[in-house]
């Protein structure tokens, strides 16, 4: 899975180049470069105001950058809405999972992208529940979650909800899944579960961005780590080339403390 063992040069799943974004007087991002390679888990860390979520919102089409380019599989794209980003295979798994508790698993997997069947030459369109049920069963089986698709999400545990949220991404051929604070809503065995899930996503050829403030988690799952601070990138490493202490210092001071240590 490590990037360094790959022989042939590869095109990033997504690449953000020289991204700038301001909100009024606030410079949220200045000249940010960021990419994710196929099969990679890329950890994104930084303080609250570091610009992580602004960067991800640009990647998911929520915000338009003031300047800079977005490339998906080497092709330059422009997202004018979140659905355009989703159509390119970029899926966000929110910290709160973005599930409707009053609806069942199947409805949640297809929420906002329901499959319809045309009647009377397209005059009437009804939900194709049969197809959505079949597809949901397939997705749940892929994720080793043997559950009734008609189960209301209200009745699921935190871990089961996360699987549903991931299933939603997989149902639509995601190439890149962004996980925002993925363990915040899990009760037990957090890191192990996350590791297992990212592995499984990689099996389906999906690259992953993990945003977390828990460095132990990031170091457990990430291949590369990008550190953001005050709207810019202050460091990017292969996981094995850096320690948690160095990353932690970068997050809070913008320096890894190596010079002090060397002095």
């Amino acid at each position: 899975m490590s990037m360094t063992t790959e022989p042939q040069p590869r095109v990033p799943v997504v690449a953000l180049e020289d991204i700038w974004k301001t909100f009024g007087a606030v410079r949220a991002l200045h000249g940010v470069y960021f990419d994710v390679m196929p099969g990679e888990t890329h950890g994104l860390v930084g303080d609250n105001a570091a610009g992580k979520s602004t960067l991800m919102k640009i990647l998911t089409g929520v915000y338009d950058p003031d300047r800079g380019a977005i490339e998906v599989n080497g092709k330059r794209v422009h997202f004018s809405s979140p659905s355009e980003s989703r159509d390119m295979g970029i899926e966000m798994i929110f910290q709160h999972f973005a599930l409707a508790e009053n609806l069942d698993i199947r409805a949640n997997i297809f929420l906002g992208r329901e499959v319809e069947r045309r009647h009377l030459g397209g005059l009437i369109r009804f939900l194709d529940t049969r197809r959505m049920t079949t597809e949901t069963l397939r997705i749940l089986k892929l994720l080793d979650l043997e559950m009734d698709p008609k189960l209301k999400v209200r009745r699921l545990s935190g871990g089961q909800r996360q699987v549903v949220a991931i299933g939603r991404a997989l149902a639509f051929d995601a190439r890149l899944v962004i996980m925002d604070e993925p363990t915040a809503n899990l009760a037990v065995g957090k890191v192990e579960k996350l590791l297992e899930l990212t592995k499984r996503l990689h099996q389906f050829g999906v690259a992953v961005i993990v945003i977390s403030h828990r460095l132990d988690e990031i170091f457990a799952v990430a291949d590369r780590i990008t550190v953001m601070r005050l709207g810019g990138i202050v460091g990017r490493f292969n996981k094995d080339d850096v320690t948690q202490e160095q990353v932690s210092r970068l997050i809070s001071h913008g320096r890894d403390g190596a010079e002090e240590a060397g002095a």
Binding site: S81, P82, S83, R86, M92, F94, H96, A98, L99, A100, E101, N102, L103, A107, L111, G112, R113, E114, E116, R125, F126, L127, T129, R130, T133, T134, L137, R138, K141, D148, P149, K150
Partner: protein, 327 residues
């Protein structure tokens, strides 16, 4: 197809069947009450169980029924529409004013009555979506404004003596079935299909379940709310037009308080005031139950003041029943 796909198809089919059955017994509690009351009345009064009387119950329920169908959509989005009673009034007087012209026919007053409701529904959605005003307050204000408009428009006077072609909408019948009943049941059937079987219906539930989630997954929340409030106004207007045709005239105060009867029927039918839960078929059952209660009490010569009290008790019982069901 692989073996797994075949298996998945079979499981899907089995689950579909189970869901259909579950759906059917979802309103079980209400059905039992409904059936129980029905049997009680059939035994208590020999005039209850006649075709004439039962058709009468449905016809008398059809006006509130139309209003309640629209209210169901609104309440599932966790909203409320207090303006519907006033919409009944304004649609009634506008349709009546057009229908006094002997040459106006059936369609013109109908379109005028329905058309004015879209303005009211549009204002409701504008206040709620753009103005970010709570539906309760927005529609309360619109209720006052709309009722005021109906009074100003008519100078507070009733309008009567409408063209007979238009009156068919309220007084005519196809075979033994009165046209208001046909309008109500057709609207109910279509609305039930829309809510339970279409993308729009699914989005109505999603918005009511969690508006943030609906936004996050890219559901056009504003568009869903706009449609829901337009639909509510439109169905209230249909009720007003049918009522006008039925009584061959309209008073600007007609429909006063209908919003509360509609909300009561919707809640009895199992829709949650907190949104995300409810069905049109439940609402229809709720409307008919309330209609049967009034009809039964009339047949038993219970004075109308007591009827109000009994309606209150039915409402409380229904709420308790629904809470028990959802646990």
């Amino acid at each position: 197809m692989t073996a797994f796909q075949v298996e998945a198809e079979q499981r899907a089919a089995a689950l579909e069947r189970r869901e259909r059955i579950k759906h059917r017994i979802g309103d079980y509690g209400l059905l039992v009450v409904f059936a129980g009351y029905f049997v009680f009345m059939a035994l208590a009064s020999d005039r209850f169980l006649t075709v004439g009387n039962l058709v009468n119950v449905v016809r008398q329920s059809s006006v509130i029924g139309l209003v309640a169908i629209g209210m169901t959509f609104v309440m599932i989005t966790a909203g409320i529409d207090l303006s519907v009673g006033a919409v009944v009034g304004v649609a009634a007087v506008v349709a009546a004013r057009v229908a006094i012209d002997p040459g106006s026919g059936l369609l013109l007053p109908l379109v005028a009555g329905l058309g004015v409701s879209l303005v009211v529904g549009g204002i409701n959605s504008l206040l709620i979506i753009r103005g970010k005003i709570l539906p309760f307050l927005a529609t309360l204000a619109v209720m006052a404004g709309t009722r005021g408009f109906a009074l100003v428009y008519t100078n507070g006077q009733p309008t009567g003596g409408l063209n007979p072609q238009f009156d068919v909408l309220g007084q005519g019948s196809i075979g033994p079935v009165p046209i208001p009943v046909i309008v109500f049941l057709t609207a109910g059937l279509v609305a039930d299909l829309v809510l339970s079987k279409t993308k729009f219906g699914r989005h109505v539930y999603a918005v009511g379940g969690s508006i943030e989630t609906a936004r996050d997954v890219g559901i056009p929340v504003s568009q869903v709310l706009l449609r829901v409030y337009l639909l509510s106004a439109l169905l209230a207007a249909a009720a007003g037009v049918v009522l006008t045709a039925r009584v061959d005239g309209a008073d600007p105060l007609v429909g006063t308080g209908y919003e509360l009867d509609a909300i009561a029927a919707v809640v009895i039918g199992g829709t949650s005031l907190f949104g995300g839960v409810g069905t049109v078929r439940g609402t229809i059952l709720g409307v008919l139950l309330l209609g049967m209660v009034v009809n039964g009490l009339n047949l038993l010569n219970v004075a109308s003041y007591y009827q109000q009290m009994i309606k209150g008790i039915v409402l409380v019982l229904a709420v308790v029943l629904n809470r028990w069901k959802s646990q």
